[in-house]
């Protein structure tokens, strides 16, 4: 967490110890057993971009800790009238104890955290970061594996546009996993190798998936394939997770997806519903991890 006020903008400033601390606290969190540790605290959910999963997850997490929340959709606020992020932030600061923020511009939470003195929790900024998603992905993996050290984690698809892939790569690398990225070069430029120490690029999906512990599939963003030197059919042929491809991975490999998932695109129906798929676990774990994040940032560590 950044120093004073503590915010969660990205994974980069965290070390492995801090990450594991959040995950350990998440283990003790359960939305079905609400607490009152953040009673009286007000949390703004400032969403400049649509989101179902992440917004609901943060909202439930905050309420399960006794905090009150207000969702602010910028489409219906003074932002539409031209208010700057700075002025929105200063206004919210006088009413709220923390801001959970989703924004289409990479780095927007960095700017906001410089301008206000309350914690900012990044719920996804542009193509940059989605730290709570990376934490819940790690949490999910660690429910099935003792440690992240030495695991082969393969992420397949549109890495370029994915804030999840960036945060995941950072976090998995910090916890000692072998991070393999796979996709066509327009969606995965060579410089992605420099995202974090030990990140590898493997272009051939069979090769990438072979022996993997975790296969993380990203949504195929059809709007982004148009204009590329590749059509949807070819993309699906080369990068879809099929039962045959999944067989190349370890027997007990986990299939993950940050959602929203498009069946028949990045993975087949069979794979989406196979016993190895932990997609639905990810959703529940999201609430637990976000409870832990809010508790640490707003309530101290207990």
């Amino acid at each position: 967490m950044d120093a004073k006020p503590r915010s969660l903008i990205g994974i980069e400033p965290l070390d492995a110890r801090e990450i594991l601390k959040i995950l350990a606290l998440a283990k003790r969190m359960n939305p079905a057993r609400p607490r009152n540790t953040l009673r009286g605290r007000r949390i703004a959910l400032l969403f400049y971009e649509n989101s179902t999963r992440t917004r609901t997850s943060f909202e439930i997490a905050a309420k399960a800790l006794g905090a009150s929340t207000v969702v602010i959709h910028t489409a219906t606020t003074s932002v539409q009238k031209g208010e700057s992020l700075k002025d929105t932030g200063l206004t919210l600061q006088s009413i709220f104890d923390a801001i959970v923020m989703r924004h289409p511009s990479s780095g927007a939470p960095v700017l906001l955290s410089r301008l206000v003195d309350i914690p900012i929790i990044n719920a996804g900024d542009g193509m940059h970061a989605h730290p709570s998603q990376a934490l819940l992905d790690a949490f999910t993996i660690l429910q099935h594996r003792k440690s992240m050290k030495g695991l082969k984690i393969v992420t397949v698809g549109d890495i370029f546009h994915s804030r999840v892939a960036r945060s995941d790569a950072n976090l998995f690398s910090k916890l000692g996993a072998r991070v393999v990225l796979c996709g066509p070069d327009v969606l995965l430029p060579d410089c992605a190798r420099e995202l974090a120490p030990g990140v590898e690029i493997v272009r051939d999906m069979d090769e990438a998936v072979r022996g993997a512990d975790i296969v993380m599939m990203l949504r195929v963003q059809q709007e982004r394939l148009s204009g590329m030197q590749m059509n949807v059919d070819e993309y699906v042929r080369r990068y879809q997770l099929t039962p045959a491809r999944l067989k190349l991975a370890k027997k007990d490999a986990l299939v993950m997806h940050p959602g929203p998932m498009i069946r028949g695109m990045e993975m087949t129906d069979e794979v989406a519903d196979c016993p190895q798929s932990v997609v639905l676990e990810q959703v529940l774990n999201g609430v637990k991890v976000r409870m832990a994040i809010l508790q640490i940032l707003l309530g101290g560590e207990q």
Binding site: S105, V110, G126, H128, R166, C191
Partner: protein, 427 residues
Amino acid sequence: MSTLLLTGGHLIDPAQNIDAPADLLLGDGRVVKIAEPGTITEADEKINLKGLIVAPGFIDLHVHLREPGQTHKESIATGTAAAAAGGFTSVCAMPNTRPTNDSPAITRWMQDSERGAVVNVFPIAAATIGSQGEKLSNYRELKQAGAVAVSDDGQPILDDRVMREALAMAAKVGLAVIQHAEDTRLSNNNPMNEGATAFRLGLRGQSAASEWQMIERDVRLASQEGSRLHVAHVSTTKSLEMIRLGRASNVQVTAEVTPHHFLFTEEACADYDTRYKMNPPLRSAADREALLAGLVDGTIDAIATDHAPHAQFEKLVEFDKAAFGVTGLEIALGAAITALHHSGKVSLRRIVELFSTNPAKIVGLQGRGTLAAGSLADVTIFDPKKRWTYDLDKTRSRSKNCPYGGMKFYGKARATIVGGKVVFSEL
């Protein structure tokens, strides 16, 4: 004739091959003569310049004075005051004003004494009407009105045919075409350099190719008889190669570099700090090294600031939404001496070439860029050893969009003389 004697200084005038202690006598707005130290005794006024360098007035080929139309960012008065404090006696003002300076009327208006300019203002007129890249403006009339070059800075001329026509017409009239080399179809207004840093930050990048491919094309088009192409703010390694290739085949092509491009790299954007957002963007460490080498080996002819003032509300926003640009008039000399001379890379004579001799030639300013007898009495006096800290709160510019506040430099202008009059002095 009222005379001013600058005595005790070390005079550097590359145009006359002078780099020695000498006295300089000015009178009636002109240089009367250069003489051995102590040999002139008669003068109305004397200034002792012991330990200082006396050089032909510095000329900034690339500034945005924002007037007419955007005086919340800068005005001709405030921008030229900053120029004087930085040691510049002349500035060439880009045409992206509101309205665009594509007419003799605006060109004259900018030079009117009513504007309150402290140093010489030489407008660079729009190369095409409204800088729309379609129809050429009237170069002959613009030149008569005082324009020293044509450019669609910031909105580069993409159409080959229009660029060829611009170069041909400018050649006929005797003007250089200054091109901000950027294929905007490739760079797409992206906020920083393409590469690992942009990828990590989740920002879209401008490729080096979007710059050098445009230079490659422009050099090819400028190979026609008499054309002069000046490349604004070069920023990539390969851009320099294109310029060298052009010269090797006798194309008249010159180039400038900005202080920020030889001081910083793309890494400066790592915190989404919009003070480091400019166009062209800060490039890789290898590019920066290439620019420094180009300043040493002569591939780059001039240092120009691309002084681009913006109000805080235009900069203190999301990185991808922030305005491009950085101010620089007050630190350019310090930046150059620190990065190039103090580090032992170049002589002070080369610094003077980059700031005065060469810029005067590039835009054809007769009687400037030298202190030969009879030239205009534009003089920059600077202390190359002076260690100083830039105090941004005291800037003469109306805007503070730069990262230089608190930075330490070697080398500072101590006095600026325009047409024989001292317009800035810290003596």
